[in-house]
Subunit: 235 residues, 2 copies
DNA sequence: AGATAAATTTAACGATCGTTTAGTTTTGTT
DNA sequence: AACAAAACTAAACGATCGTTAAATTTATCT
């Protein structure tokens, strides 16, 4: 490990607020949004450079190649999912509570951070070793969720069910969010996280709640404690 | 309309069973599978031709261009979804029944037919007018599902909820199936349709069923009548 | 069998892709 | 002000993309 390797992050804080130059955050966010919209293969380096207001050659000072950019985004997404899982297990007491918290934390994360918003496929585009790593981590995440559901069945908070099928339903509904969520829309990240997690939890709960939010853009009491919405002050 | 235009479908039945030549069904199925796996932009005409055992130029006798191939597949998928919706409305009596039937019929269709299995995005790749048409039809489908859920709220069979959010959950779980379903796997199309529709219906039912299938590969009694599984004889 | 049309191949086209090289500008440090 | 490192640009590379043109094979019908 050479000492020149561990240099400062790209795009150190600029004195002037103007958007000259590329910083790592903008680069990853823009790439994530483009990849998410048009797909990895449907997005050219030129597209990305144009959106960032630089030439495409400039990008190669911040990323070794296009493949690696996708890999970095996958890692960020997977880290977010790992974190959500760990938080859910720690904060929840029963299986159903943990399930709801997992969905809540994961959706909060991917909606709040435009960088963590893919997960969605395009494995073939990765280098073989990277693809293996991504697929393996995703498999472990899925299995973790399945075990979490099973633990809920065991503690009686979740209805006996085919845990594999249930996992697919939860994962599908969660991943779909990245396809319709719009940062400027009428729902913020925490409303979505709360509303979607309520529906999914109800599908598997032993004692399903008797009411769901009828308008998730309105604040409401949730069946059990969730982190409060930091963006909506009481009015 | 010239008389030479309305010719027989490509690949009319061959006397010999050997796989010489391209027929429309194989072409669309193979394209659907490749597009689904690697994405539209990630699949080259050469890939498709190789898989079909012909040269890429040969494909241009059956499809005007690559874009149109994607368009045709979108139309097939949307037709399947339209049909599932119509069937559900006709066969069901209450909103919740219709919801479950919609999921059941749609999943049966996309699992049983490898051609109807995308829906999943890649709109940008279409010609502008085609893209508009696809997006509009998809929007109508989504709105139809939302109205179906609302009708269930009105008739009391579905719990009051944010129907838009509920629609997203159902659509997400349904579309995700195309990402994990494997034709040769341990679940057949009808087991998946039954198992997934049961979970989704439970998430929104006013009177949620007290039990779900614990192993959807095993035949079981469903809460209300569904078309019987044509592939599983009684044992 | 011979005529006709459809199906497929070979070969090439311009365009665009991701990436690299070499040179220039900007920035931070002294 | 002078220097060095980093950031960026202009221009080009080979490869591959979707598509087309012309030639050839295969199948169908009389």
């Amino acid at each position: 490990m050479s000492t020149t390797q561990n240099k400062r992050p790209i795009g150190r804080p600029k004195a002037n607020g103007r958007s000259k130059g590329i910083n790592r955050k903008d680069l990853l966010e823009t790439a994530a949004r483009l990849f998410n919209d048009r797909g990895f293969h449907g997005t050219s380096i030129q597209d990305l450079a144009t959106r960032l207001g630089v030439t495409k050659a400039a990008l190669y000072h911040h990323v070794p190649n296009k493949q690696d950019l996708l890999y970095q985004l996958h890692m960020i997404s997977l880290d977010a999912a790992d974190k959500a899982t760990a938080q859910a297990i720690e904060e929840g007491r029963t299986g159903i509570e943990r399930l709801r918290l997992l969905v809540y934390h994961y959706l909060s994360a991917i909606c709040a951070s435009p960088t963590a918003c893919l997960i969605l496929l395009e494995d073939d585009a990765l280098r073989e070793d990277h693809a293996k790593e991504v697929i393996d981590r995703r498999r472990k995440l899925e299995y973790g969720l399945r075990e979490l559901i099973q633990s809920g069945v065991d503690d009686g908070s979740i209805i006996p069910c085919d845990t594999k099928a249930a996992t697919f339903v939860v994962v599908g509904a969660m991943n779909w969010v990245t396809k319709w969520y719009q940062p400027g829309g009428s729902w913020n990240a925490y409303q979505i996280a709360d509303g979607i997690s309520a529906i999914l939890a109800r599908s598997l709960a032993s004692n399903p709640v008797s009411s769901l939010p009828t308008d998730i853009s309105q604040p409401q009491l949730t069946p059990f404690a969730l982190p409060s919405d930091p963006t909506t002050p009481d009015s």
